[in-house]
Structures are given as structure tokens and as C-alpha cells.
């Protein structure tokens, strides 16, 4: 689908920036992430379907930000990944104290879209139906992923 970069950026840029700012906190990092999102989408513009782009951009923005959060975990100047801590806590409020320590283990070896699903449902408060439509899965598939995440967190809690 032919895409006019300028129109596309003016229409969706502010929305993508707000999304990145919300997940990453820092304005400059959010602007860098926004650029990454548009580069990804426009590089594959010929493969875009002619439908509402906001959903695609929102999803890519979320993934770009989650990748940045993962990679900065080992860079102390960037602080803690508060978003993932929140997800861990909301997955099971009783795990509050263990949440920070469990994060790496929680998302390690999980498909990338499990973190996306968790963010959409627990952070953005999308219903299971909305998440399913957003990521192109069935509602039961989404439910299973979230259930697996909860079980994994419980298992991590009982480990010595």
C-alpha cells in the first residue's frame, strides 16, 4: 500500500510518541523509539494492509518500547523497568515483594508477544476480546498465555 510518509507521520506521530513516552518515561528516549517505529513500518510499507494503521503502530510501538526496556535493564543509569514491575505485580498482587527479582525469569523464554499481551491487558486494561483482536489471536489463546504467565510467576515465588 503506498504510504505518504509526511501525512502518515503527522497523523500518527503524536499518538506513537505519547505511547512511547508513557512506556519509557523519558522524552528523548521516547522520540528515538518513535523514529524506530516509523522506520519499521515504512520499511515494510508495501506489505501494509489497507486498514486502520493506529492498531499496527500501537502494537509496534509497544514492542519497540518493551525491547528498549529489556535492553536497558543492565544499564543502571536508566533505572528500573517500572512497567514490567507493574505487570508482574498485577499478574499476582501477592507477588509484590518478589516482582522485581522475578522479572527476568518471568519473561525469559516466553514468546515476544506474551509480554505484549500482558501489557495490553494489565497495563492498558484492554479486555481479552480487545487484546485478541489487537494481536490476531483467539480469546482462549490470549487467556492461556496470561494464565501461563500467572502460573510461571507462582512457580517462581515458591522457588527458594
Amino acid at each position: 500500500m503506498p504510504v505518504d510518509s509526511h501525512t502518515y507521520y503527522c497523523t500518527y506521530g503524536p499518538m506513537v510518541l505519547r505511547r512511547c513516552r508513557k512506556l519509557l518515561g523519558d522524552d528523548q528516549t521516547a522520540r528515538d523509539a518513535m523514529h524506530d517505529v516509523f522506520v519499521q513500518v515504512l520499511t515494510h510499507s508495501e506489505e501494509l494492509a489497507d486498514q486502520a494503521p493506529s492498531s499496527l503502530l500501537f502494537r509496534i510501538a509497544t514492542n519497540v518500547c518493551l525491547n528498549r526496556i529489556r535492553s536497558r535493564r543492565r544499564r543502571p543509569e536508566d533505572g528500573d523497568p517500572e512497567l514490567l514491575v507493574q505487570i508482574a505485580q498485577e499478574t499476582d498482587p501477592a507477588a509484590r515483594s518478589a516482582a522485581r527479582a522475578a522479572l527476568d525469569a518471568l519473561f525469559r523464554h516466553e514468546p515476544e508477544d506474551t509480554a505484549l499481551i500482558a501489557v495490553l491487558h494489565l497495563h492498558d486494561r484492554m479486555t481479552l476480546q480487545e487484546v485478541a483482536a489487537e494481536v490476531g489471536m483467539s480469546v482462549s489463546g490470549v487467556r492461556k498465555r496470561l494464565e501461563k504467565l500467572r502460573m510461571k510467576l507462582h512457580a517462581l515465588e515458591v522457588q527458594p
Binding site: 503527522c10 497523523t11 510518541l17 494503521p53 529489556r70 535492553s71 480487545e130
Partner: protein, 270 residues
Amino acid sequence: MTSLPDWLVERAALDEVPPASRERIERIERAEPGELARRVAALREDNAAELARYPAAPAVAQIEARVAQARQARRRRRRRSWLGLAMSAAAVVVVVGLAALRPAADVARGAQDAPEETRVKGSPRLLAFRQVGEQVERLAQDAVVHAGDVIQLRYKAGGQGYGVIASIDGAGGVTLHYPLHDDAPPQATVMPAETAALPHAWALDDAPRFERFFFVTANDPVDVQRTLAALHALARRGDSATGSLELPSGLQQWSLRLRKADRPSTHESP
């Protein structure tokens, strides 16, 4: 507190509310009349303010330049994979043909025939530049740098198809520069054929003694996590300023060390 999540207001402002959310939005409008319209208006105001403060044209130009680069890299990768496929097919034909023609007596000494070594044209190189005001200065091995100096890296894989660029510092820190994410799959280590620059420059932090950049290359995709583990291991060692990475065979390494001065930079950061 409103029950309207931000993402749904964004979709409404763009007239792109997904079918799965239409009932929800109608329910919210009944429960909180006027709230959606108010928040949509606020978002549109914010959009206009953002585009006035940061006009789109320069950002779009930067994005389009990166898109062009990415498309070129994709085309090159596709050419490389087709070439690889064609060469593999040709190699199979040649090997099968040679085996059929080979006299039985030759087979006995076959193990002694070492295959001809494939030589790399040119060698991988990593160049560091420091931005000093409007000027750019190339940094040689052991050049003295300061906390706050803005560094940009350029690299050339010298015919090797894959690579990882990372640095260690005198405080034992490890930073990955290419690919961008430490959970990147091996395929993400593909290198452009020509000299390229990392997409971002960055300011050096106040880690003491040195900043040492490593360029790890190979003919096959590189395991990023394993390479990072080798970097962490070296960063913890006493000889981290001079030692080599312990890497699996097939990987080659180059390093460029910059010395850290004790005093802060006198260079003006942009």
C-alpha cells in the same frame, strides 16, 4: 476517575475504534456523557502543539533516510541468500561430479587434502569519531577521551557477513551497540557490505580508565547473548583493558581502546 483508557481515546480521535471496542465505547459514553469528546479535543490540541513545537519535515527526512538504508540492507541480504543458494547448488554439482570422477586410489589420501582457505578481502574495521563543536575528530587507539565526549562509531565488516559491536569500560560495564537489543536473534547480526555508521552517537559516562570497543565478526550469524557473556567475563577480569574475549572458534575479534582522562571534558557538547 474516568474509565476511558488512553489507547481507546487515541483510536476515537483517529476515527479508528476497532469493532471489538465499539460496544465498550458506547457504554462509556452513556455512563460519562461528554467525557470522550472532551478528551478527544484535548488530544487533538496536543497533536497540533507537538507538530508546531517539533515540525514533521526534519523528523520525516531522518526517518526516510533510515528507511532507505534499511531497504538497501534488505535487498543486499536477499541477494546474498540467493547467491548463497546458487553457490551451494553449484558446490553440490561440483562435489558430486568430482566424486564420480575420482580414481579409487585417490580416496585413500583424500583426508590429507586440506580445502583451500577462503581469504577475506579487506579486514573488519571499527572507527571512532568524537564530535567537537561542529567538527568531527577521528580517535586513534589509546586516544584520550573524557566523560561527556560524544562518540560516533563507523564500521566495516570487511567481507564478513555478521557481527556484534559492544564496549566494556573501566568500571566493568558492558554496552551493546549492534545489534540494538541484547535479546536479538543471531540473524539480527547481519552486517552491511559497505562502511556504515551506528544510528546513534552517545556521550561517554564517567567510568574510569578506559572505554574499549569490540567488533566480533563471523561468516555465520553470531550468538549475541553468548558474545555478551564473553564481554561480561572479560569486563570482570583484571586484564580487561588488554585481554581478549574468549569466543567460540569461527568468530574473530578486533578492539579499539580509548583512554579516559581524570578531568572532565573541555569539549563543548552539542
